[in-house]
Amino acid sequence: MTGVVAVTTPYSVPVPLMDALQVTVLVLVAAGATAVVLTRRPVRQVIVLSAYGLMLAILFMAFQAPDVTLSELTVGGVALPLLLLLALAKVRKKEE
């Protein structure tokens, strides 16, 4: 379309290698998401979800979005699993 300014990105990693990395991480994320859905016990599911958050963080890194990586690392890897675990602890006390 309207190429206002041509941007040249100085890749330090060869493009085919970068593509291979991105495809690998995409496949890993798909596998991770499936693993989260297939895990039945809630507590175990939270731990798998946390690992899946780490995979997503690597995905954002491979797609050159380091700031989103930082957010995902802390929110998906720590904050969300912690909130879920606390909610589970409260619910479990009620059930006992």
């Binding site: 700031d67 930082l70 957010s71 802390t74 606390l86 409260k90 006390k93």
Partner: protein
């Protein structure tokens, strides 16, 4: 409806969904295709205009700063809502929450967990503070920094020190910090109005060296306020939930 009729309804509807989905996929632009001009323009002009070398921060806190104010207040309202709902419950007697296995103490925290949590607390504070105060230089920002800072408080809890967690993050202080963070952001935006400039204009000196710690004017300041707000909001939410959980444990056992 009989089970077989239901199955047929599902199969037909599912086949239709797959067909439309695949049709939609073929119309997508190519992977990594970016038609719009704004990204290219910002890549060229952002560093010169804002003196921030992290263009993402420049976009978040300057070019679309007004959107970020909105996002900020979403988190503020969410944290306030959680505290209101949970604090209301604390005064009530929650009968169903009784622990029936009386005399069963909570499992003690293992030494390994305590050790790791204590070792990581200091570095986590440093990284969080660095991220929140260096939005203008490198990929980081108030949100990331704030969540990392909140993680430091959670590590203190993980090391088995709930009382310490409450001592270093009293509810009144977290409440105040959250309000200061959210209000500070809004006030930085308002400070441009007396100078007859639009809301959230960058009124502070931009500095000379792009990416230096004193560069980029309000971008760095707003990022710091966002960091304080986000850290306080997460500590508040987690603190309220922890207190609820432990209260149940205490009353029961």
């Amino acid at each position: 409806m009989t089970p077989s009729a239901r199955r047929w309804a599902f199969l037909i509807a599912g086949a239709g969904l797959v067909a439309f989905y695949l049709w939609g996929l073929t119309g997508l632009p190519g992977f990594g295709d970016y038609p719009g001009p704004y990204g290219f323009i910002l890549n060229q002009v952002a560093v010169g205009q804002t003196k921030a070398t992290a263009v993402v921060s420049a976009i978040n806190f300057e070019y679309r700063g007004f959107d970020t104010v909105g996002e900020e207040f979403i988190l503020f309202v969410a944290a306030a809502g959680v505290s209101v709902v949970l604090r209301h419950l604390r005064g009530e007697r929650d009968r169903s929450a009784m622990d029936e296995a009386l005399g069963r103490g909570a499992a003690p925290t293992s030494d390994a967990v305590r050790m790791v949590a204590l070792v990581f607390t200091g570095p986590t504070v440093v990284i969080g503070w660095y991220l929140a105060t260096h939005a203008q230089t490198s990929p980081s920002g108030g949100f990331q920094g704030g969540v990392v800072l909140a993680t430091a408080f959670i590590l203190i809890y993980l090391s088995g020190q709930f009382l310490m967690f409450k001592r270093v993050s009293p509810v009144a202080l977290a409440d105040a910090a959250e309000a200061v963070g959210a209000g500070g952001f809004a006030l930085v935006g308002l400070s441009a109005l007396p100078l007859s400039m639009p809301y959230l204009s960058n009124v502070l000196p931009l500095g000379h060296t792009p990416g230096a710690i004193d560069s980029s004017g309000t971008i760095a300041l707003i990022s710091l306020f966002v960091g304080v707000e986000v850290a306080a909001a997460f500590v508040l939410i987690v603190g309220e939930l922890l207190e609820q959980t432990l209260l149940v444990r205490q009353e029961g056992g």
